[in-house]
Symmetry: C2
Subunit: 227 residues, 2 copies
């Protein structure tokens, strides 16, 4: 078993690609990565039996939002975040960016903030695009102060104990989720948030196991097809 991070640098990315896609519970093999960013949900598009593997942490985020009732089950599968505005602080390759992509693919408008700028991830106002596109936003028109209070969901993942998201920019009743191991909100958030999820680690581990089951099932489907 390979448990990442190993070296914690670019060499890890190389190692990830060496792992057989049939054993990749983290979903970081290029084939899964490509499917994921392009909103391709099956490995075998014509028959649509083998589901593609999604990276655990972003998948955990989706499952949590679904559980919290942010997804609307009356909307078409794949569009269930339509109309929702989601703010994501952090755009790391490992979580922040894939989370933004996954939530935009499900129909929401995602505002992704990192130390450099703010970007918008969206499939377009009418969801006509099959997968999301990313645009850089003008920092005057789209400042943290202007955008955050309008969002239905605020997600943070800043790996620093000193960082705190300003509670006064959270509108009352907003769904608030922190995926960093550092505490990105101080306790005042409990007075503002509709629901507050301070960490997502346990759900992430469940998703790892879920991916393992998915890999086994995909293997079985391929075995059956051979016979």
């Amino acid at each position: 078993m390979v448990y990442f991070p190993v070296f914690g640098d670019k060499q890890d990315q190389y190692l990830q690609q060496l792992i057989s896609p049939e054993k990749d519970v983290e979903g970081f093999n290029f084939i899964y990565y490509h499917n994921f960013y392009h909103n391709v949900r099956f490995l075998d598009p014509p028959t649509k039996e083998q589901k593609s593997i999604l990276p655990c942490k972003p998948l955990a985020m989706v499952k949590i939002l679904d559980y919290l009732g942010v997804h609307n089950k009356h909307l078409h599968y794949g569009n269930r975040l339509y109309g929702k505005k989601i703010f994501v602080v952090n755009r790391s390759e490992i979580v922040g960016r894939p989370v933004a992509a996954l939530l935009a693919n499900d129909g929401s408008t995602v505002y992704s903030l990192d130390i450099n700028n703010m970007q918008k991830f969206t499939r377009g106002d009418d969801l006509l695009m099959q997968s999301h596109k990313v645009t850089d936003l003008d920092s005057q028109e789209y400042s943290l102060e202007k955008v955050a209070p309008q969002c239905d969901v605020i997600i943070t993942g800043v790996p620093s104990d000193s960082y705190k998201f300003p509670t006064e920019l959270v509108s009352n009743g907003t769904m608030v989720i922190n995926f960093s191991s550092a505490k990105n909100f101080d306790d005042s958030i409990k007075q503002k948030a509709g629901l507050y999820v301070p960490s997502i680690g346990k759900v992430t581990v469940s998703m790892l196991l879920r991916n393992l089951l998915r890999l086994i099932r995909n293997g079985e489907i391929r075995e059956r097809a051979k016979k």
Copy 2:
């Protein structure tokens, strides 16, 4: 059986008060009306067995919003619309105003528009108030054009065939409900709304029957208490 409107004027209001509260399926007796506006949910506050009767149409609206997933079942009962912004066009005594009141009592911020002005119905940002209060809004700062696109839900009830709510003020993915017998949206709304409910008549009739059952049950509880 008395079927309103009878005279269609103030005399109807007088007749409504003559009907025994034990038989008032419409929930327009003063005692129900008072409870309703003050967010008092039981007729017998200490024991809380007999539920107060809510007017059918506003109740139908609540049930529809609940079904559509606008209420969040993870929030405390009575606060499940916390954080939601709802726009209501029409402030008639029979539906528009009670709808606004009921939705505000459940925790949402309601913007209520009629031909005179816009009002806000809310229990306060932190829901500390037991029932909603109403404030007149400044028409410059709170115009239809500014407020409507920010709302999660838009509800119309204008009894006029010529009235159409401007589709361009509806943000993509908004929940849209019309309770007027006139069609307050043109077909372009289907391209914008997340979910669109063109009429609520059938649910209203169900709520009438529900209130009838509620009255019977309340009667049984009182009978039992006598023994």
